[in-house]
Symmetry: C2
Subunit: 301 residues, 2 copies
């Protein structure tokens, strides 16, 4: 089986469709690279590209994106709602198939070093690739944003992992890293009261003492007139979907509310849903090799 890694670069351009199209074109035609998704937000002035490929193909793809960004993105003129410090702001690598987290850490280091040298951009490593505990969280690295970079880079604890110790005038700095697959997962409630969704979010998310590896917030869906618990599941192997689902149900019960439905945003790895099925069906002899398709892969088809 080919080694497949996912790459989800966030670009600081979400308005000019001609430029965004050119970023897409820069990925097409690379052997072994498949673009899965492209999502632009004009008010964020930001585009998120999702593609998978072999390590070699991803390296080529990311270098192509930096080449284009060096010509088309100037952060000195960039205004958007989303925090950012670089033209290519973040480049995470995610193991997808036949690849380990260490493979992704290695790739983040290799590609990060390459673009730092080629484009004279400071590069930080984050997530599983971080070289110090205070650099694990992307939000810590990005604090101060593009405008704060000159000062931030003077602090010894913010010496970049690769590249110059001054920001690139137009491209700022970039953050490379490795992380598990992120599942964007929302649960709709049978109430329009957003405070219920907010209270549930506080109970389940990591930052306020809930489950590990969960980000959550309560939002009101005006078009449907109902409240939603909107979540990112940051490590579905450690905090599986079913545990989040059942905890949301339990917390909702306190307010007489129930889960109306779930929404999967983007893609979900097969393993995450198979584990949920095994939980709810109470399969006592569960192992992924019970799945016909997995058995075929194991046998070499």
């Amino acid at each position: 089986m080919t080694r497949l890694i996912e790459c989800v670069p966030n670009l600081s351009e979400g308005q000019d469709t001609v430029v965004i199209d050119s970023f897409m074109s820069a990925l097409e035609g690379i052997p072994g690279l498949i673009v899965l998704d492209r999502s632009s937000d004009a008010s964020h002035h930001r585009t998120v590209l999702t593609f998978v490929g072999t390590p070699e193909a991803l390296k080529q793809g990311v270098v192509n994106l930096f080449e284009l960004a060096s010509r088309h993105i100037d952060l000195r003129e960039h205004v958007g709602e989303h925090p950012r410090m670089g033209a290519i702001d973040v480049v995470p690598f995610i193991p997808v198939r036949n690849a380990t987290m260490q493979d992704c850490v290695d790739l983040a280091r290799e590609v990060g070093a390459e673009v730092a040298q080629r484009f004279d951009v400071p590069v930080f490593l984050y997530g599983e690739a971080a070289t110090a505990p205070h650099r694990r969280l992307l939000s810590n690295i990005r604090k101060g944003e593009f405008e704060g970079l000159p000062e931030k880079l003077r602090a010894p604890e913010w010496k970049p992992d690769f590249g110059p110790e001054v920001p690139h005038p137009a491209m700022g700095a970039s953050v490379f890293g490795a992380r598990p697959f992120l599942i964007a997962y929302n649960l709709q409630l049978d109430t329009a009261d957003v405070r219920v969704a907010q209270a549930i979010a506080r109970a389940v998310r990591t930052s306020t003492g809930g489950l590990p590896h969960v980000q959550a917030m309560g939002v009101y869906l005006a078009d449907r007139e109902l409240a939603q618990v909107s979540m990112n599941l940051l490590d579905f192997q450690k905090t599986p979907i079913h545990r989040v689902q059942e905890l949301v149900k339990i917390e909702a019960a306190r307010y007489g509310a129930r889960v109306l439905s779930a929404e999967i945003v983007g893609l979900v790895p097969q393993e995450a849903l198979l584990e949920a099925a095994a939980y709810y069906l109470q399969v006592e002899n569960w192992q992924p090799d019970l799945v016909l398709e997995n058995a075929l892969v194991r046998k070499g088809e």
Copy 2:
């Protein structure tokens, strides 16, 4: 994606391991064919082989099995607990990947005609390949077994679909067909009272007025001292696992019993578990393409 079909021939030899090994050898080395399972039962005097492959590979494999059976199996000397009418008793084809039921019907006809002509064996078609409603059920075709074949074949309604209208002296007759994937699925109860499992089985199985496409019986597991509802789910797309699971729970509640755990026997198609996950998680935007691996396949990886 390669077209993959599963084939599960039932052979009337379950005791002589040298002969059974030779059947296995007859499958090995066929390009595009993968053996998934082999299961012999001495008291049934029967072996079930499970393999997948391209249509061409399966045809070669089945012809090889008939070649060996013509030399090693003589039903005139065969005594076993399981009903049988042929040396190669049943040959079902099951769509697995990138193959339709019609592909399997076509393959059953093609390979059935081939072995009938080559080995002078009458061949019936059953299941989705049946040429008349009374031939849909394997049990109808096999009624009378090997010993009753001379008389059965004289009846106009039992004229074979292919081959001679008299049985092969040693090999009897064979039944080829196409059917959906069968999931063998057991639910353990938190009671040792087999009558509870039997009552639940009567409530859920097709033959006594329950759900379509379900075979079920209640059994006592002596080693675990508990009762089990043992089932075959004959068409998981029409009667999905979760519906069976929840109906068993509902019927069990009548007796104050609960489901302790589930057991998957053999293999289960990915789709069956993904649909169960989508049900229990209440995914409102469910479609198989939400699964990363499926999206990759669709994109051509």
